[in-house]
Every structure is written in structure tokens, then in C-alpha cells.
Amino acid sequence: MMELWSALPTPVQSVIAITAIILPLLAAVAWYTYAERKVIGYIQVRIGPNRVGWRGLLQPIADALKLLMKEIVLPTKASTGLFLLAPMIAIAPALAAWAVIPFDAGLVLADINAGLLYVLALTSLGVYGVIIAGWASNSKYAFLGAMRAAAQIVAYEIAMGFALVGVLVAAGSLNLSAIVEAQSGSVLTWFWLPLLPLFGVYYISGVAETNRAPFDVAEGESEIVAGFHVDYSGMAFAIFFLAEYANMILIAMLTALLFFGGWLSPFQGLPVLEETFAWVPGIIWLLLKTFFFMFVFLWLRATFPRYRYDQIMRLGWKVFIPITIAWILVVALAVILEVPPWWSAPA
């Protein structure tokens, strides 16, 4: 099997590997929308979709078919080229960022040195889809949504970047696999404990970056109808949806990788449990952790009301950025002083 794999030319290998990442990702996006409706339904003491397929499991397929058959409306006064380009600009970085995500030790499409920077750069490009969509629609509501999204994403990106600086100081590397390896030991050596404030800031900024509730002022259906995608219909709208959910899954997986030990087993270092669960492949642990953070996205949406706009700005600029700067100093000192058990010199 391995011989057959290595006999293939590199471009063919890449295409197969990309397909092996993208197809499960798109499936995950489809059933994540189903999970969202179900989870929020149960939180609000409803049942959620239960008509299509067993317990409504085929609902995403029905939704996709419906969206495919709808007409894509082009507003007369819209800037047509940019209007059609915007969904593509939204989806491309959301998918491209997955190139450097390691799913298990060595199981990564592109094991580049600056992996963390690459992810940060690509997640920062997602905002262009929103801004261009808002501007090209030539509608007041869409434009307001785009403006809100731009200001919010720029604010939270800084906090997010600083939180990641803390991670790279702690791990001493920008390579995502190396960051996971640096956390090995036990649950307590994962970075969530020494970097607890940064973990909080990162995850909340991630929720804000993806324009999810309670930070969804860019959509704000009660005030600006649907924000930047108010003029989109059919598949063009669905692509924005896809990009948003792919980004949510990406943020959840990055949180698991950077702060919760990625594919490392949570029973590492415990005498009996470690051997009992040694047969579980690492990717299962990673997916379980990712599913948890994906669930938290939905939990937050069902629990909190939308933030007011000035409070969002205050939280980003005046609360998160000072916290991250202070904690970077703490982490840097801890690394220099070799505080055990995280940064003790290798024996």
C-alpha cells in the first residue's frame, strides 16, 4: 500500500490528500448545520428538524438541494463582478487554511515551518469576502454589515495574534506539529493550564472572527436583516454559509491543537488508563476535542444575547489586548526561568 502511494507522482498525491481533507470537511459542515439546529432545539426545549430521514439526519442534503435549485439573483445596481467574486474570496481561505493542520503525528498535508503564521494570515483574509460582498451589493444593510465586520475582525485579529504569540513563545516553534509535541506529558502539561488567559482570549476572539453569536453584529438579523449577505440567494448564499462553518470548525480544531494537546491522549502519564487506551488512534482524540469546541460554539449561540457594538469594540481593544500583552510577558518569564513542569530543562 505504502509502495503504491510513494510510486504516485507528487501532484497526484497532493490531489488525493486534498480530497481526503476537503470531502470530510464539507460533510462535517453539512451535518454541523444539522447539529446546530438540533442542539439549539434541545437547549430551547424543542425537537429541531426530524422529518427528512431518520431523526432528520438527511436534512442537510435536502437543504443543499433546495439551495442548488434556487435562482441566484443579481441585483441590478450591484457591481456584478465583485458580487460574484465575494463568495469565492470567502470560501478560498477557509479551505486553504486546512493545508497545514496536522491530524496526527506526521499526518499533515504541508508540514511547513511557519504553519501558525500561515493559518493566521489565511484566517485574516476571510474578511475580504464579507467586505466585498457588502460593498458590491450596493445596499445599505449589506454595507452596514460589511463595515461592522471589518472593524470587528481587525480588532479581534490583534488579540488573536497576540494569543498565538504566547503559544509560540511557550512551544518555541511555529510548526503546528511541534507545538502539539511540546505539550506532551499529561493533561496538565497541555498549554491550556499555563496559557489559560490566552486560551480564553483565543477562543472568544475566534468566535468573534467567525462572526458568530454573540458577536454576529455583521449579520444582526433583527437590525440589518442579514447584514452583508442580504442580497445573496441560492448557492452564492450557501457558499458564505460553508465558509463560515468551515472557519468555525477550523477555530475549534486549532483550539484543540494549540491548547488541548491535539492528538495526544488525555490519559497520558496515568498508570493504568494510558495502556488501556493506547490502541485509540490520535486522530480520534483530536476529533473528540474538536467536537467539544464545535459544540461550545452552538452552546454560546443558544445562551448569550448579541453584544452591543460599542461593547464588542471595548472588549476587543481595551480588555483582550492588554490581557494578552501581560500574559505574553508572564509566559516569556516562565520560559526563561524554566518553570516546571512545562518548561523544565530536559533531564
Binding site: 500561515y118 485574516s124 474578511v127 485579529e157 511555529l174
Partner: protein, 222 residues
């Protein structure tokens, strides 16, 4: 090597094309978007010469942050294109003169005698595990520490100056003090409970309607 060269020409062509569009587009938003394209394709060019850190940082800082703000501002501007075009012919000689001097300067400096291939030996490709991020960091924080710190201080001064210039005290604006809002607790600061003994009120006398008044109102309404 052939494929890399092919990629280089593709990205170089995109960069030059995008840069040309930046200055020729009438719509400023389109110009900014072409500038973004120029940045992205130059980042690709940098990655081709193994400067992957610089390439990614170019995308992260310029495309991801600076150009977003730029776009934000340009979209809000109300630019009167007609008045700009009206002065085009009048300023054309001056523009041509400045452009001519610049082209002359560049021809004198950027010629093959200074930047030709024989002036720069082709650097050896680095091994796969080489991290130029670490090398760059070491250089910045050891050899070029003072320059780095001075640049940082200059940026800080610029930030403070910009904030000072745009900060206007406007006493008539109403705003909320979040620290006061957060400090609110249940209890006397928010709700005051007053217990009142029930009072005996005399039976209300039914008020007789005043038909004259309503008639008056109707008449004025008509």
C-alpha cells in the same frame, strides 16, 4: 527549476498587471482591491525565493490588516470623480515631468551595472528543515537590535501623535461608562424597595364624559 521559473513569470505578470490597474482604475475601491492582489502576488514571489516568513507576514500585516482598514476608509469616502478628471489635463505636464524624472532615476540606479545577475551570486538553496523565521529573529534581536528598537519607538510616537491629533473632547456627546455599568449589583444601587402601608381611598366617583369637548375636537379635526 523550469516550473519555478514558470511560477515566477506568472506571479510577476500578475503583480505588474495589478500595479498598473491600481493607478488606472477610476473607482478607488477597485484600485484598493487591485493593490491587495499586487501584495498577494508579491508575497508569492517572496515565497519563491524561500523568504516564506516575509511572504506570510506580508499577507498577514498588509493584506489582512492594513488594506482592510484602507478599504474601510475608501468605501466611506465620497469621492467626486468628475472634479478629479477635470484637473487631469491641467496637471498632466507636471505629472509627466515628475514621472520622467523618476524613470530617469530608476534607469540610472537599477541598471544591470548595479543590479545585474553577475553582481549577485545565486544563493544556494537551503535544506528543507531550515527555518528563516528563527534566523530573522536572531538577526533582528542581536545584530540590528538598536535599529529595531528605534523603529518601534518611531511607530509608537506616530500612534500617539495620530491619536492626539484626532482626539477631540466633545462634552455634548453622551456616552456610557462601562466600569459604572459593570459595577451595578442587585440591591440598593439599582432597585429600592419601599414598603408602603395600604391606604384607604375614598370610592372613586365616576367621571362624567364631557360631550361638548369631544365635539369641539371633532370640529377642529374636520
Amino acid at each position: 527549476m523550469g516550473f519555478e521559473k514558470f511560477l515566477f513569470y506568472i506571479f510577476a505578470a500578475i503583480t505588474v498587471f495589478a500595479a498598473g490597474m491600481v493607478v488606472t482604475r477610476r473607482n478607488p475601491v477597485h484600485s484598493v482591491l487591485y493593490l491587495v492582489l499586487a501584495f498577494v502576488s508579491s508575497a508569492a514571489l517572496w515565497i519563491l525565493i524561500e523568504a516564506e516568513f516575509l511572504g506570510i507576514v506580508l499577507v498577514l500585516v498588509y493584506v489582512g490588516a492594513v488594506m482592510v482598514l484602507f478599504l474601510f476608509v475608501v468605501m466611506m469616502l465620497d469621492i467626486d470623480i468628475a472634479s478629479i478628471r477635470a484637473q487631469f489635463i491641467r496637471n498632466l505636464p507636471l505629472g509627466l515631468f515628475v514621472a520622467g524624472v523618476m524613470v530617469l532615476n530608476m534607469l540610472l540606479i537599477l541598471g544591470p551595472s548595479n543590479f545585474g545577475l553577475e553582481q549577485f551570486a545565486k544563493p544556494d538553496p537551503r535544506p528543507a528543515g531550515y527555518s528563516n523565521t528563527a534566523e530573522l529573529g536572531l538577526d533582528l534581536y542581536t545584530t540590528y537590535l538598536y535599529q529595531f528598537e528605534i523603529a518601534a519607538v518611531i511607530l509608537l510616537v506616530a500612534i500617539i501623535a495620530a491619536i492626539r491629533l484626532t482626539l477631540r473632547r466633545r462634552p455634548e456627546t453622551k456616552y456610557q461608562d462601562p466600569s459604572q455599568q459593570v459595577r451595578v449589583r442587585k440591591g440598593p444601587s439599582r432597585v429600592r424597595l419601599i414598603s408602603m402601608p395600604p391606604e384607604r381611598t375614598p370610592r372613586p366617583v365616576p367621571v362624567a364624559p364631557a360631550p361638548a369637548a369631544t365635539n369641539d375636537n371633532k370640529e377642529t379635526a374636520e
